[in-house]
């Protein structure tokens, strides 16, 4: 186990290094730059700006400098917000996105699993069709349609919750629902089919034949095994949701991290592009790693040491 963890760690660092290198050269290769604007700045001003941010140096040197700073955990200053560092932007935005993301993951997992099991247990009855239909519908409504509908109904018409901004638990309700909608539907569908498959397994029949109650079989043996595909999906889903969604954060005016994934590219805010990409990659690698460990704990068929990785 220890050797496995070490190997995973080294692999992750190598992956991060590759991502950093690729993104660095790709973003410098696309046209445009952080100081481009419809009204061209005088050459003197551009020269000063380039000197200030060391963009006047050869790309290779910029790369080496950036990687050096990265090793010390310094992500550099933002070009768009000259008074703020990328570290500040991430450390302020991530807790907000993560809080919202955690709430959404919780809602999606609870509601999704419940609905999936509910549908599977009522296989081919109206409850099943209703759940599957709703899930398909919910999954296919894009979030930029869902969010304004939520705002219109619960904020403008009913006045129960604020339409936007951040601060209190009440502010979290609508963005959480909007963010959780898609994953809930997906988890419900995943859980349903996985549960149906598990219930047809021999060991379930054996357990029932041994005289265990249906309820005990479903809860102790069925759900636990049916969860495996859901947990596999949970990794990338959690990483994506925790680091924030551009659309949700924009519509609900949430000061999270998600916005930077889009605006930094539009602005060619090089340091922010690097910062958020690496941060997201780190979270994704870490969560996938944790999920692998969880697999071992819940599924005796999976073994880290024998998998030959």
């Amino acid at each position: 186990m220890g050797g496995y963890i070490l190997r995973r760690l080294v692999n992750s660092l190598l992956a991060l290094f590759t991502i950093a290198t690729l993104v660095f050269f790709l973003m410098h290769a696309v046209p445009g730059g952080p100081f481009a604007s419809e009204k061209k700045l005088p050459p003197e001003v551009i020269r000063n700006l380039n000197a200030r941010y060391h963009l006047d140096q050869p790309l290779r040197k910029q790369y080496v400098d950036y990687m050096g700073n990265l090793l010390c955990g310094d992500l550099g200053p933002s070009f768009k917000y000259p008074d703020r560092t990328v570290n500040e932007l991430i450390s302020e935005g991530f807790p907000v996105s993560a809080a919202l993301g955690m709430a959404a993951v919780f809602v999606a997992v609870t509601a999704g699993c419940f609905l999936g099991v509910f549908a599977a247990l009522n296989h081919n009855r109206w409850q099943d069709f209703l759940t599957v239909g709703l899930a398909a519908l919910n999954y296919s409504i894009p979030v930029f349609v869902m969010a304004p509908i939520l705002v219109y109904v619960f904020s403008i018409k009913l006045g129960w919750v604020p339409p936007a901004m951040w601060g209190t638990a009440r502010h979290m309700v609508l963005p959480t629902l909007a963010l959780a909608a898609g994953p809930t539907a997906f988890i419900a569908a995943l859980m349903r089919s996985s549960m149906l498959e598990v219930l047809r397994q021999d060991y379930i029949r054996t357990a029932l034949a041994k005289g265990l109650s249906y309820r005990a079989v479903v809860f102790r043996h069925g759900i636990k095994n049916a969860l495996i595909p859901v947990i596999a999906y949970l990794g990338p889903m959690t990483a994506a949701v925790l680091t924030g969604s551009f659309v949700i954060e924009k519509i609900f005016a949430i000061p999270g991290l998600g916005e930077y994934f889009v605006t930094s590219v539009i602005n060619r805010d090089y340091t922010v592009i690097m910062g958020v990409t690496l941060f997201y990659s780190t979270i994704l690698l870490a969560i996938n790693f944790m999920i692998d460990i969880v697999f071992v704990l819940i599924d005796p068929r999976i073994s880290l040491t024998r998998s030959g990785r």
Binding site: A36, I156, R170
Partner: protein, 537 residues
Amino acid sequence: MSYRKLMALSLILLFMLLSGCNMTPNQKTDTEKTAQVIRYNLGAEPESLDPARMTGMVEGTVANALFEGLVRYDATNQPQPGMAAEWDISDDGLVYTFRLRDAKWSNGDPVTAEDFRFSWLRVLNPDMASDYAYQLYYIKGAVEYNSGRGKAEDVAVRAKDSHTLEVTLKAPARQFLGLTAFQTLMPLNRKVVEAYPDWYESPQNYVGNGPFLLEKWEHKQKITLVKNPAYWDAANVKLDKLEMYLLEDDNTAYAMYKTGRLDFVERTPVQEIPLKKNDPDFHIFPDLATEFYWFNTQREPLDNPKVRKALAMSVDRGAIVENVTQAGEKPAYAWVPFGFTDEPSTVDFREAGGNSYFTEDVEAARRLLEEAGYPGGKGFPRLTLQFNSNERHRKTAEAIQEMWRQNLGIEIVLAPKEWQVYLEDQATMNFDISRSGWGPDYLDPMTFMDVFVSDGSNNNAGWSNPRYDRLIAEANGTGDSSRRMKAMHEAEAILMEDMPLMPIYFYVNDNLFRENIKGIIVPPFGTYADFRNAYVE
């Protein structure tokens, strides 16, 4: 569609029940009706609160509340005494002498001429790398210092005594007086800046000389300002508190306004404008900006003025502003928008020159195209129209594409481009026709007119006309304001005759604010709104 919504909603309701949401009704937020508080949506997070690093109108609006330059614009767009009680401009238009009033910084220090000199040199310092340093290039020695070729001491800004500031320009520039109201030229308290290099990052050490003080900056949420008791004209500042919300999405801001959480929003969502148009809280203000298409005059067949005119004359601008943009924009038949003052009279520059340099005449346009060798559009090459991907620009381009097809029988290709790709192609003239918008740097028509001088850095049409250049040089070189304006009117006539660009419409500001809010000034450039004299009735 409606049943889909219904299904979605029922599922949402189910989720809410499952997650045990707190669904107690929200108390009404505005309990104190008479409180002197305005909740205003600024529309974006300011990039910086250091005036030297500010560029956009978002930052300008905050700067205008926290600081005051030598002059300040009034409701009729005239510069009025600000920190300068009076000023004197030499006959050759080169030397400006400002006499400062006895004003105080919010920490009690006096505002001195040295504070101005220090702040302007700080902007010009090459290490500062200020985007807007070029706003000070009118001053003798400024470009040299900013480009590293000259020294700070040689910039012609002198504090003759604590209350007298003398500025020498390198050439006459009528716009300089008004520019001193602009964010880049705002003064800073030298002692504070030297003692706390990071003073602008938080309210703690933020010292200003404007009508309001910075109380709190919650990033991407809200900036809270309170009245500055040390402001020289504090007696006329009626607001106790000004909350600037930083919501980027127009629809979000509108929902906040509708639910009583905001009193003033900048941009009304397009789909709501037809519904709000006649309400008393809907206000339209002129905006000094022109929407237009560049013609690449160095490519065939756009190198022929007849072709350019035919294209411009066969577009129905009224239909575009009524059906596409819908915000009350004015169709443009000239380059310079409404809102600049002509001199020495005080009529609008546009009204004086007229908004009718050309007419929409399909028959005449067809004839011009025929004269250019393309009868009925036959043989006309497939030109490409590029624009930055954006709903509004796409719809406008589609409308114009259709008008040209029907009126002239020509086909063009639409090329939506990512913002930076679009900018690069425009700057390198890698286009046939390119959409663009132009706004002012200062309150004078010259900020539009000098775009088209030969080899001007923003002349993306590649157009050149020696008579035009001569007229602009004449306007820039003379201290006589009526000769100056006359030269610019003549130059604009040449521009519209040769048509290196095709004007489409003049922008407007469509704002929503409550009926009980009074005294707001909405300047046509630089800042979205000035709250100095605003109050709640």
